[in-house]
C-alpha cells in the first residue's frame, strides 16, 4: 500500500511549472491543492469525468505533460474512458488512479472488489498500465514515465484516509477554482485560446 500524500509529494517535486493536472474530487483534490497551489490545476471533477476531461486538455496542450489524478470509484463510473484513452494514445498523458478499494466517504464500501483496474486498462488497449504498491515502486515507475513521451497509466494501491491538510476551498471547488485555472492558463506559454469572440 502507498500513502497518497507521500506519492503526491514526490510528484509535486518532479513536475515543472508548465505541466497541467486534473484531479477527481475528495482527498485527491485537497492533498494536491495543498502540495501544488500554483499552476494549471483543475480540481474536483465529479465521478467519471476526470480521465476524459484530462484527455481533452492533453489534446489542447500537446507539448506538455497532462496528469490525471483519478480514483478507483471515479474511474469505475466511466470505464469506457479507458477505451477512448487507449485509442487516442496521447504521448503527453499520465494517469494516476489512487485505488483505496472503497468509496472513501462511506467507510468500507467496496469499489472494484476483485477487478484489477490496471488489467482493465491493459485490456482496453493501454500498453503501459501497471499497479504500484509501494513508494519505492512509485518512484521507480512514475518518474521515468513523466520523462518518457508515451502514455502511462498507473493504479496505486493506497491506504484509506486523508492527510490532514489545510486548503482554501476556493482553490478546489466550482467557479472560483475555475477562475484560478483560467488565470493559470492565460499565463501558460502554450495556451492557444484566443480572446473572447467579441474581442476578435
Amino acid at each position: 500500500m502507498v500513502k497518497r500524500f507521500d506519492c503526491l509529494q514526490l510528484l509535486a517535486s518532479w513536475l515543472d511549472e508548465h505541466a497541467l493536472t486534473v484531479t477527481s474530487r475528495g482527498g485527491n483534490a485537497r492533498e494536491w491543492a495543498h502540495l501544488r497551489p500554483l499552476g494549471a490545476n483543475f480540481h474536483s471533477l465529479n465521478m467519471g469525468t476526470c480521465m476524459s476531461f484530462a484527455l481533452g486538455l492533453a489534446l489542447a496542450f500537446p507539448k506538455r505533460k497532462v496528469i490525471a489524478i483519478d480514483s478507483d470509484g471515479s474511474l469505475l463510473l466511466d470505464t469506457s474512458s479507458l477505451v477512448t484513452l487507449a485509442d487516442v494514445n496521447p504521448p503527453n498523458f499520465l494517469a494516476l488512479v489512487f485505488d483505496n478499494q472503497a468509496y472513501a466517504n462511506m467507510g468500507a464500501t467496496a469499489t472494484a472488489r476483485s477487478a484489477d483496474l490496471a488489467k482493465m486498462a491493459e485490456g482496453a488497449g493501454i500498453k503501459k498500465a501497471s499497479t504500484i504498491t509501494s513508494a519505492e515502486d512509485f518512484a521507480a515507475k512514475v518518474r521515468p514515465a513523466l520523462e518518457a513521451w508515451e502514455l502511462g497509466f498507473f493504479v496505486l494501491k493506497s491506504a484509506s484516509g486523508r492527510a490532514q491538510v489545510k486548503v482554501d476551498s476556493r482553490l478546489i471547488h466550482g467557479r472560483p477554482m475555475l477562475e484560478h485555472f483560467i488565470n493559470a492558463l492565460l499565463r501558460h506559454p502554450d495556451y492557444q485560446g484566443k480572446p473572447s469572440a467579441s474581442q476578435e
Partner: protein
Amino acid sequence: MDQETIAAIIHALKQERIDLVVTLPEEPTSPLTEAIRQDPHFTSVTVASESNGISLCAGASLGGRRCLFVTGIAGLLVGTWSLAQMAVLYGIPVFIMASYRGDIGDRSGVSGAQLFMFQQLGEPMLNTLRVPYRIIKKKNELEREIRDSHFACREYGTPLVLLLTGEVLW
C-alpha cells in the same frame, strides 16, 4: 445527410477554426463524421461513450482548442451527467451538433416509441440543464447558424447544441 449539407458544415467549421471533432458514430450523422475523418484539417477522435465526448470537449475547449462534439439526441441523454457538470457547474463552452432523432418527420426505422421518447425528453432535458440550443431544419440556414452558435457558445460560456433535423438531416 447529403453531400451538399456535409460540405456546408465542413466549410463553416473551418471558418470557425474548429479543428478537433469528437464523435460517437451514429447513423444519421455518420456520413458527416466520415467526411471529417478523411479531411486532414481535422483531428478526429472517436469516443466510447457520450460522457467521454462531452468531458473531453470540455477539457479541450477550456484549454483553448476549438472543438465540436457530434452526436445524436440519444447521446445527449446518455451524456447528461457530464453535460450537467460542464454546463451548470462550470459553464464551459462545449459546442455540440446532434441529430434530432424523434423530431417530426423522422422515418429512420427506429421504433416509434423510442422516437417519441427522444421527442418528449430531449428538449426538456436541455432546458432543465439551461443549455441553449437551436433547431436547424433548412440547409440554407446551416452555415449562419453554425457561425452564430459557435460565437454564442464561446461568448456566453456555456455548452450549446445544434439539433439537426428536416432537410438538413433526412
